[in-house]
Each structure stands twice: as structure tokens, then as C-alpha cells.
């Protein structure tokens, strides 16, 4: 994004000695004409992430809440396919060091030719990515629509994680929550807040809990509708 939303937003790239790919900023025309979604990414020290269309927002949130993903950048680069430039949607770097790109493709025109053309573009894209030595995944709407509940859960967790960033003395809250979780490996948001309601405000406790989920220190089944009674667990307990 062109305007500095937050003094810290610029610090992200400045700190990293080897900056990853930078995202292309949307042009004013794109900002005006498109369905644009903005949010501050807690994974990137509150850098502003801007994506177009709800499906890409769902995709971005999937990366945001995946503890395995170290970093992701939207609109990282173009790939030239059949004399035209196709923009990739995300660059993703994982904890294992693996880097990959993903692109969201949607059937634009409702005709059989368009379906075939789209199919061809997809195979050409994969071919071009192979030539360039990039790992590319093409995401289609179906898998994103099937994960409607998971998408909503991530969206609902996001503001609490962002609020935790502004919380003074966050570690006090997270330590208290983790202490509670050690004695009760399976707990709900409600139970955590009830236990800690004496010294703390429930909103701060929930912020800290969501922050721990975002970091992967606590586990939550995203495919369940998010409620106050949703079960939160320690990751080792969840896999046992």
C-alpha cells in the first residue's frame, strides 16, 4: 500500500537483511474499481495486506493462521504465459524453508470455450512455473467455498490477534493463559476467561488466547463454528 498506515508497517522490510519479494501496490484505479480487502497482518508486524475478492481474502487468512507459514506476500510477481503476463497471488515461505507460489483462478465466462481456454491457461501456467523453477499451486473457488466455516473462524479470530498487538504487557496474559492450559489441557474460551476474570478483563484474556492460537502455541479446530464454548487445547494434547 502506498500510504504508511502505521509507523511500524515500514519496519518489516527494513529489519530483514534479505527482504523477500515485495507485494505490488494496487493502483488507484484498481483500488477504486475492485472489491478490495485490507487488514493489518499480525504475522508481519502489522504490515497492511491488501487483496482483491473474498476468495483471496480467505486464502490470505489461511496463510495468516497457518503456524507452518513463516511469511507470505500478496501479488509477488508475474509469470509470462502465451505473450501475456499473469500475476501470481501469493508467495509463501514455510518453516521447512520451502517456498511456493499460489494463484487463484476463477472461471470468468460461462461458455464451453472459456472453460477449455481456462483449462489451457492453467496447464500453460504450470508449465511456465516449471520452466522458471517455481513451485506453483492453482487454487479454485470450490475448495475455498467448502471451507466456509474455517474461513469465518479465522476472520473472527483476526481482530483479537490484532488487538493483542496493542495490548500492554501481553506476556503477563499469555503466561497466565498457558499456565491455565497446562493444568487443563482441554479448555474453552469461557473456562479460561472465568478462571482469569479476577485480575484481568475478559477481552484482554481472549486477545491473548487468540494470539497464542495464531502463534500455534494453542490449538483450535477451525472447522467448527467459533463460539465461546469452543475447545482450545495445547497442540501436543490435540495430536495425542
Amino acid at each position: 500500500m502506498t500510504s504508511p498506515l502505521n509507523p511500524e508497517s515500514r519496519a518489516y522490510y527494513a529489519e530483514d537483511p534479505h527482504p523477500p519479494l515485495t507485494s505490488r501496490a494496487l493502483t488507484p484505479r484498481e483500488e477504486r474499481k475492485n472489491d478490495v480487502y485490507y487488514y493489518l497482518s499480525p504475522k508481519h508486524k502489522m504490515r497492511v495486506v491488501s487483496v482483491v475478492e473474498p476468495c483471496r481474502l480467505a486464502l490470505a487468512l489461511e496463510y495468516e493462521f497457518d503456524p507452518d507459514v513463516v511469511s507470505y506476500v500478496e501479488r509477488p510477481r508475474f509469470l509470462s504465459v502465451e505473450d501475456r503476463q499473469i500475476e501470481l497471488c501469493f508467495w509463501v515461505s514455510r518453516r521447512s524453508g520451502a517456498e511456493s507460489f499460489s494463484i487463484f483462478r476463477r472461471q470468468s465466462k460461462p461458455s464451453i470455450q472459456a472453460v477449455r481456454a481456462e483449462e489451457r491457461v492453467c496447464s500453460r501456467l504450470l508449465e511456465a512455473a516449471r520452466t522458471a523453477g517455481l513451485t506453483l499451486a492453482i487454487r479454485k473457488p470450490q475448495s475455498l467455498i467448502l471451507a466456509r466455516v474455517a474461513n469465518a473462524t479465522r476472520l473472527e479470530l483476526l481482530p483479537y490477534v490484532q488487538a493483542a498487538d496493542a495490548l500492554a504487557g501481553l506476556t503477563v496474559f499469555t503466561d497466565a493463559v498457558l499456565e491455565h492450559m497446562r493444568t487443563h489441557p482441554f479448555s474453552s474460551f469461557h473456562a479460561i476467561e472465568r478462571t482469569l476474570c479476577g485480575p484481568f478483563d475478559w477481552r484482554d484474556v481472549r486477545s491473548a488466547t487468540c494470539w497464542l492460537i495464531h502463534r500455534g502455541l494453542l490449538h483450535l479446530d477451525v472447522n467448527q463454528r467459533l463460539m465461546v464454548s469452543t475447545r482450545v487445547s495445547l497442540p501436543e494434547a490435540a495430536h495425542a
Binding site: L5, I112, R139, L146, H190, D204, S207
Partner: protein, 632 residues
């Protein structure tokens, strides 16, 4: 389950497996091609044979691909990854066949994949026994040209007289067999699917807030004086209701009334900030007007907590134009900020429906209200018989009316909510453990929402004895603590300004700590004013209609100007209504010392003013260094 078709496999995520061994990769490709061939209409057996996949494997692969994997996504192409390496026969033909013989056309297609693509792309009619097809003939001409250009003359099918016409037709027939007929107008669901937020996210009640402005179909006349001091009624150009609304809950969270040809980003900012503040009932002017018991605006009256949405939708027309909105909405409202396509109100359909309801039940009853020209009539029709000139509008009473009716609407039973009111539904939702986002510091966030962040440069000249100052939006700012600091001239600082009270500007150093607070010089120093009002005054003064040079207070000058012009200009009346609070504050002049310690506007200027104790603020442009001036 229906037969596999191209549309269905087009839905699957595609990927290129990078960690497979070459053998496994070949097997993967073969299965993928076979699945695609089956989808394109070939039989299971022929597809298996063509790509060297066992029929049973292919059937199992297709069956698996159409089921949902443990990660709740369809298996899709992932089903094609082989468990075990098998020997496959995918050797590519290295030469065109020498002559027409059984299997020659297949071998030719294997070599000429581009040709095969041409064939699969053709969707026109095929010639029948007694039904020639012109479209096919012209297509076939292109095919012949392709063969002549690409195939050596002594090779099949260039050496064939008919250019393998029968084989081509047979290939097309086979390919179409079993494939549903799809004509040009066939609607593929996917084209429009997933375009809307609700389709991709299973949103809960308080997740989504929408903001929009709505023009009121009612002429308002406000009372003023003409040149002779007689009472005079002047019509306001247009009035707007800007509303923040929990879309799925159908609960209004904040509103603002704005006057003018269009509402501004500042109005929008105020509406957003109001939704973060706890609502309190107004002191109603009319004694007969009372709030509906149990009604209220926002979530606080219902559940005691100011809930905030996870996603905030705003229109692309006005909201994003103001820098401060672009800067602050994401950081203060939190969650996701969504700017929808401009001029597509359908994306905020719930809010449009709410506007319609308020329009029908409240606005139509106000004197002078009309139903705009539409389906039923070519001209606007009045909806009541009262004359707006007999009942002039009073802005305070109008705001009272909106507050009472909107809070009443929140407590009204709705069909969409099974005859329960939004407040009741919210209480049940929270009572049964529903998820709501709330932040403890919502009031601070509301104040921060109007803080514009920018970069300013310190100007000044030692030679010309011009003390350091900062220029910002048609005004100069100065502080006593910068007196004589010539070393700062030319330096850039990051700064913050409250757009609702632009008298002060805060400068920050590199560490992000407050460096100095500057105050605007005359004529911008006295009355609290928004940057929008300053722009309006500046524009009037540039056009020569208003003289602010040498004036003590620009807002006061504007007030006088508007009073003079009230009887002859509707713009003046509209400006008067729009900036009513700021103009009212310009009426009395407190002494400068009082101004410094006790700011006039309590909410907006509380923050910067508290840091300003003991600061001497020069009111004029130049400061004489030689003598220590005594405060006037």
C-alpha cells in the same frame, strides 16, 4: 453421482508435485490425462488404454477424486498421485507416421499436440449425412493449412488426399460422445459463484458491519435572517444520513446527519468513530418525544459491551478518499476493511433495505417529504400534506428525531428475524455463547480514528528573521519552544493532526516520541475547526468571496459571511447547517490564556491540549526576537 465432466474437473485445485521421482511423475501425468479424457467424454476403457493406466486404477482414481479428503477439501488432482510406481507406456512418437494405416492418426495426434488442441477447441456443429456444416468446412480449411505448414510432404497426413478428414471427424465424434450439450448461453455456476463475501465466509451475527450514506428525500428549510433582520427560510441543498449497521443482525450501530451536495470523508470518519463509542440517550428538545423503552443504538445498550465487527464494508465512493480513513480504519477498527466496488449498492444489500425501511416509516412523514419518480409515477409525489415552509427544520430536533427512531428500529420486531427485535436476537446470541469481538480500549480507538498521520517540513529563515514554522493545509503552525532553533529549518518530521480539530499539530522524532506540539497561527488558532471546514474557507477566500487576511478568526469570518448571504444563497444555508457546531463555537471569544488551558471542544481537543500547558502561543505571523513580548 452424475458423470464426470469438464466443468467438474475445472473446479479442482491444480498443482505441480515437485517431490515425485521421474517415474512417479510420469504415472501422475498419465492418470491426470486419463481423468481429463474421461471428463471430456471418452470411455473409461479407451482413456485407460490411451494413457497406459489400468482401468481399475483409473476408476478408483476418479471415484476418490470426487470425494472429500480428511482436510475437508475435495481430493481432486491429488487422487492421481500414485502410491506405488508402475510401469507406464507413455513413450512419445518421435516422427510423423509414414502413411495412412490403422493407428496412424492417433500417432499423428501424439506428435502434434497443438493440432489436438485445435480439435478439442472446436465446438461448432459437425456435418451429418445430409446436413453439411459451413462452419466445419471453414474450420477444416484451417486444419488443412496447419497440416500443410507443419507436416513434411511425404508424411501422413500431408501425403493423404483428404487430409485425414474421416479420422478427424471420428475423433470429434468420439470426443463428444457422452458429453452434455452445452451451448453458448449455458450458465456456468462458477462464473458468479464465490464473488460475494457470504458465499466464502460463514459469517456470524456480529461479524459484518456496513457503512453507507443515503440521501433523504425531503427538502429541509432552516430559519435565518435576511438583510433587514427579518426571519427568512432558506432551503438546504441536500441532506444525508450516514449509517453504520451490523448487517446480519440488522442492528444500527451509529449514524450521522450531514448536509451538502454530497457527504464527505469527515462525516464518514465521525460515523465510524461513533460506532466505537458507547451510546448515551440524548437530552431531547421536544417534551413529547420519548425513547422506546429498551431501545438503543449499538450493542452496548443490549449486552453492555461495545462490540466491533470482524469485517467493515464501506463504499468506494467517499470513504476511501480521505487519507485519514485509509490510514486509520484498518488500525483502529481492526479486522478486515472492505471497500466495495463503487456504485454497486447491492453488495451492501441489507443496509439498503434498512434505509428503505427508515425512509418509508420516518422520512416520508416529515413535512415536505416526497416519493421520488420511479416505477409508479413519472414525477415525484408528496407523501404528506404539510408544507415544509410552515414547519422549518431545526437541526437539533431533527437529530433527536433520528436518534429516537433509529434506536426504536433496533428494538422493533422484524420478519427477517422471526418476529424478534435485533436487540433481543443479540441478547440471545451472546447469552448462548455466541462469538463477539470487543476491545477494552474502544473509546481511545474512537479518538485515534480521526488522527491523520503525515510528514511535515520545518521552514524559516535566519537571515530574514523568520522563526521556524510548519506549513500544513493552508495554515502555518509555530511554537515558542522552537524559537531560535534555526538548526531545525529544512528538517522533516512525522506528524499527527486531529482532522476534527486542526488547531494543533504534533511532531514526532525518529524514535516515535513526541517532539513538539505546534499551534496554528492567526486566523486558524481560535475556534476548533475540521480540515474540511478549513478547505471550504480557503476556497471561498481564494475565489474572493471571503476575506480572511488579517481576520482574528477565519471561522468567525465565515459565520458573518454566511449570515449575510443566507437569504440569497442556498449554499450558504447548507454550509451553515453542515458546520453548525463549529460555527456555534466561533460565537464567543475566550481569552487566549483560557483557550490554551481549557479547550472549547471537550472530546476532540482534549488530547493535544493537555500537553500544552505553559506554552506561549504567538497569534501573529512574525515574532520579534529582540523584545520579549508580553502575552496580550
Amino acid at each position: 453421482m452424475h458423470e464426470l465432466n469438464l466443468l467438474e474437473i475445472g473446479q479442482w485445485d491444480q498443482f505441480e508435485p515437485s517431490e515425485l521421482l521421474p517415474d512417479q511423475k510420469n504415472a501422475f501425468d498419465a492418470r491426470r490425462k486419463a481423468v481429463r479424457a474421461v471428463a471430456a467424454g471418452s470411455s473409461m476403457t479407451s482413456a485407460a488404454k490411451q494413457y497406459g493406466v489400468h482401468v481399475k486404477t483409473l476408476a478408483a482414481t476418479i471415484e476418490k477424486a470426487r470425494t472429500i479428503a480428511p482436510d475437508r477439501k475435495p481430493w481432486g488432482w491429488r487422487a492421481c498421485i500414485p502410491h506405488r510406481v508402475r510401469h507406464t507406456n507413455t513413450a512419445e512418437a518421435d516422427e510423423y507416421p509414414a502413411f495412412a494405416a490403422p493407428g496412424a492418426f492417433k500417432a499423428f495426434l501424439k506428435k502434434a499436440t497443438a493440432f489436438q488442441e485445435l480439435l478439442t477447441d472446436y465446438s461448432g456443429p459437425l456435418p451429418g449425412r445430409n446436413a453439411p456444416s459451413r462452419r466445419f468446412e471453414s474450420f477444416f480449411k484451417n486444419l488443412c493449412k496447419w497440416i500443410r505448414d507443419n507436416v513434411p510432404k511425404d508424411r501422413y497426413p500431408a501425403n493423404d488426399k483428404t487430409y485425414a478428414r474421416r479420422s478427424i471427424l471420428a475423433f470429434l465424434h468420439v470426443q463428444r460422445e457422452g458429453q452434455p450439450f452445452i451451448d453458448e448461453d449455458f450458465e456456468v455456476e462458477d462464473a458468479n459463484a464465490a464473488g460475494q463475501l457470504g458465499e466464502v465466509f460463514a459469517l456470524q451475527l456480529t461479524d459484518w458491519a456496513q457503512y453507507d450514506g443515503h440521501a433523504l428525500d425531503c427538502p429541509f428549510y432552516i430559519e435565518g435572517e435576511d438583510g433587514n433582520g427579518q426571519p427568512f427560510l432558506q432551503q438546504i441543498l441536500r441532506s444525508w444520513l450516514i449509517v453504520g449497521y451490523f448487517a446480519l443482525l440488522r442492528l444500527c450501530s451509529s449514524w450521522t446527519l450531514s448536509f451538502g451536495l454530497n457527504y464527505s470523508g469527515t462525516d464518514f470518519n465521525v460515523t465510524c468513530a461513533n460506532s466505537l463509542r458507547q451510546w448515551a440517550p440524548r437530552d431531547l428538545v421536544a417534551p413529547t418525544m420519548v425513547y422506546v423503552p429498551g431501545s438503543g443504538i449499538g450493542t452496548a445498550p443490549a449486552i453492555g459491551v461495545v462490540a466491533m465487527p470482524s469485517i467493515t464494508s464501506a463504499d468506494n465512493a467517499m470513504a476511501h478518499r480521505l487519507d485519514v480513513n485509509r490510514q486509520r480504519m484498518a488500525s483502529q477498527l481492526l479486522g478486515v476493511i472492505h471497500f466495495g466496488r463503487a456504485h454497486v449498492p447491492e453488495t451492501r444489500g441489507h443496509l439498503e433495505a434498512w434505509n428503505k425501511r427508515i425512509e418509508e416509516t420516518v422520512i416520508r412523514e416529515i413535512p415536505g417529504a416526497y416519493r421520488p419518480a420511479g416505477e409508479n409515477s413519472d414525477t415525484a409525489t408528496n407523501t404528506n400534506t404539510s408544507d415544509p415552509q410552515v414547519y422549518p427544520a431545526d437541526t437539533t430536533a431533527l437529530e433527536d428525531l433520528m436518534d429516537v427512531t433509529i434506536s426504536g428500529a433496533n428494538a422493533t420486531e422484524l420478519d427477517a428475524l422471526q418476529n424478534r427485535s435485533p436487540i433481543q436476537v443479540l441478547q440471545t446470541f451472546v447469552g448462548t455463547g455466541g462469538w463477539v469481538f470487543a476491545a477494552r480500549d474502544h473509546a481511545e480507538r474512537a479518538n485515534m480514528l480521526s488522527t491523520l498521520q503525515c510528514s511535515v517540513k520545518i521552514s524559516g529563515s535566519k537571515k530574514r528573521k523568520r522563526q521556524p514554522y510548519v506549513r500544513f493545509r493552508h495554515a502555518r503552525y509555530r511554537s515558542i519552544s522552537l524559537r531560535g532553533r534555526w538548526d531545525l529549518v529544512g528538517k522533516k518530521y512525522s506528524a499527527t493532526v486531529d482532522i476534527l480539530d486542526a488547531r494543533f499539530i504534533n511532531l514526532y522524532d525518529e524514535k516515535g516520541e513526541l517532539f513538539v506540539v505546534l499551534r496554528a497561527l492567526r486566523p486558524w488558532s481560535r475556534t476548533p475547526h475540521s480540515l474540511g471546514l478549513r478547505k471550504t474557507i480557503h476556497r471561498l477566500s481564494r475565489a474572493g468571496r471571503l476575506e480572511i487576511k488579517g481576520a482574528a478568526c477565519a471561522v468567525y469570518a465565515l459565520k458573518h459571511y454566511l449570515r449575510e448571504k443566507f437569504s440569497e444563497s442556498r449554499e450558504a444555508a447548507t454550509l451553515m447547517a453542515k458546520h453548525r457546531t463549529e460555527l456555534a463555537a466561533a460565537g464567543s471569544f475566550p481569552s487566549p490564556t483560557q483557550l490554551v488551558t481549557e479547550p472549547a471542544s471537550s472530546t476532540a481537543s482534549a488530547k493535544p491540549a493537555s500537553r500544552l500547558v505553559d506554552v506561549y502561543v504567538p497569534l501573529t505571523g512574525r515574532v520579534n526576537l529582540g523584545k520579549k513580548a508580553s502575552p496580550p
